[in-house]
Amino acid sequence: MINIYQVAYKNLLRKKTRSMLTVLGIALSAWVLVSLFGFNNGYEQSLNHDIDNLGYQLLVTAKGCPYEAATLMLKGGTGLRYLKEELITEINKNQEVEKITPMLMQVVLDPNKGESGGLTAYLGIDAATYPGMKTFLKFQAGNWFTPSASNEVVMGYEAAELEQREVGDIYLIPEKNLELKVVGVLKRTGTQDDGTIFVPIKTLQQVFGKTGQVTGLGIKVSKNADLVRFEDKMYNLPDVQVVSMVQVKQTILNLVGTAKVMVLSIAIIAIVIALLGVINTVLMSVFERYQEIGILKSIGAMPLDIFKMVWTETLILCAIGSLVGIGLAMILAQISDLLIRRIIPYAPAGMLVQVDFSLILFTLLVMIAIGLLGGIYPAWRAASIRPLEAIRSEGE
């Protein structure tokens, strides 16, 4: 004997095109919803990963000093300002400091790069403290130089690729004519470390005549420390600018927040349209089956049975639509990723749209709940049909 669910299913098959279009509408809404929440998860995770990969929470530089290679290159290698290395001892006195590492950025003009010369940046680091902060850096070959090493160099993957260097090769710092031995080539990280050439800080200080000077201090703060208070303390140091990675993260999240609100608005509109589509489809179907429902009731179907039947139709439409939408979102996650990257001001490395099981379940439940809500009115209308009126209307 045929049950109520089979009847509902067969009813939907009677108007295949209409049912398919409704499913498509729901699917698109589900797709937008999954992608939006997937982006919410993925973006923050990727951003955290990027920030963590910097290895330190605070960067202390001299006021007005460009603190990253990229900015430095833009300024043509000029504008560097220096801090005294002794500042490390002073900052280390703070109990909030877990680790501190000095860095010295230097740039040379290589006249034999391109038509009119090109810039190459070097990052002087302390082999005793820097690797401990950047524990995620892994080696393709070789290792870090030893703390006492002088004429050695470690290259990021892309820097090594461009210079065609392998462990054991010689690398020359143009302009200074200093030969360094390549002792390590890093694996790809997807960050600017890939293009960095790491040199022992003492060597760089000596070669560039910057003994006792650094361009930045990376500070890792202990877990329970009050970062804001510590930051304020750092600002009390003379001629120092402090870049907090938490601030950086918050700034980016604020910027992206605007884009998120826009997408969320679109998602809400899409859901409302899908909801109206479901109501329309099921209500049309109820009106078309007016006499049929009347006959069902006259042969013994109770209002609750009719209500359940119509509601089940809504449930089936929403469930299929949601599953299709979730499938689409998973398949097209990479395309969504690319599109989002074009829209937002800063996109971190890693997958921006991350779809996990809890998100799938959440979307499925939301879409079904919305569908069931939308199905109440058509189901109530169907359940309220009076059998005699319905049968009598047959000839009209």
Partner: protein, 205 residues
């Protein structure tokens, strides 16, 4: 401050977008450089070709056979994207430009060759060379020695021993390693262009 941060992260993103796949060898400023080599040009076409997609492992082996040595290092891989610039004057092809990366003694060399439509070198250019004597290798007196040479002039050149070199003289006696690297890069460039454009032997696509 926000602007600096945006700039920094924007540039970080720029770096990230270039991290995929093996590194190729492009002209730094194609619009300017192509015009410099072919002042009469009206347009140019850029194609990205790789041994992997053109003929796979078989082509890779064939190239190494013609080359007379195995491709070495972490970076001379089968998936390196090579950029071929086809230079046009109206609809007529007036030449090609192609560069390869080559390991030098102190750093990477970028060996560009400029060809006429029949595959004869009309210009040699090191886009990048790291060495204290690099200026001598980048001079006109050195690069002009390549003018008029073809693949046939390099085919006997042994890239391993340096025997049977083409008629090109080393401008810096202490730079023998880089001189050999320059010839090695030029031979690699000529073989690849023979496969990519002039002869298309071994190509499946």
């Amino acid at each position: 401050m926000k602007k600096i941060l945006l700039l920094f992260f924007g540039l970080t993103l720029l770096f990230q977008t270039t991290t995929l796949g093996a590194v190729g060898c492009d002209l730094n400023d194609p619009d300017r450089d192509v015009k410099r080599f072919f002042p009469q040009m009206t347009n140019y076409r850029t194609e990205y070709l790789s041994i992997k997609t053109l003929g796979g492992e078989n082509l890779y082996l064939l190239i190494q056979q013609r080359y007379g040595d195995k491709f070495k290092g972490l970076y001379e891989t089968i998936d390196v994207p090579y950029t071929v610039y086809t230079v046009l004057k109206g609809k007529e092809i007036i030449g090609y430009i192609h560069g390869v990366n080559q390991k030098g003694k102190y750093g990477g060399l970028q060996v560009f060759l400029v060809f006429d439509p029949r595959g004869t070198i009309i210009r040699q250019y090191f886009q990048k060379m790291t060495a204290s004597y690099a200026g001598k290798f980048r001079s006109d007196s050195f690069s002009s020695q390549f003018i008029g040479l073809k693949l046939a002039d390099f085919i006997k050149y042994d890239v391993v021993t340096g025997k049977f070199p083409p008629k090109v003289k080393n401008p810096v006696p202490e730079g023998e390693d880089d001189f050999k690297a320059a010839l090695r890069g030029a031979k690699k460039n000529l073989i690849l262009m023979d496969i990519f454009v002039f002869n298309r032997q071994g190509r499946e696509k």
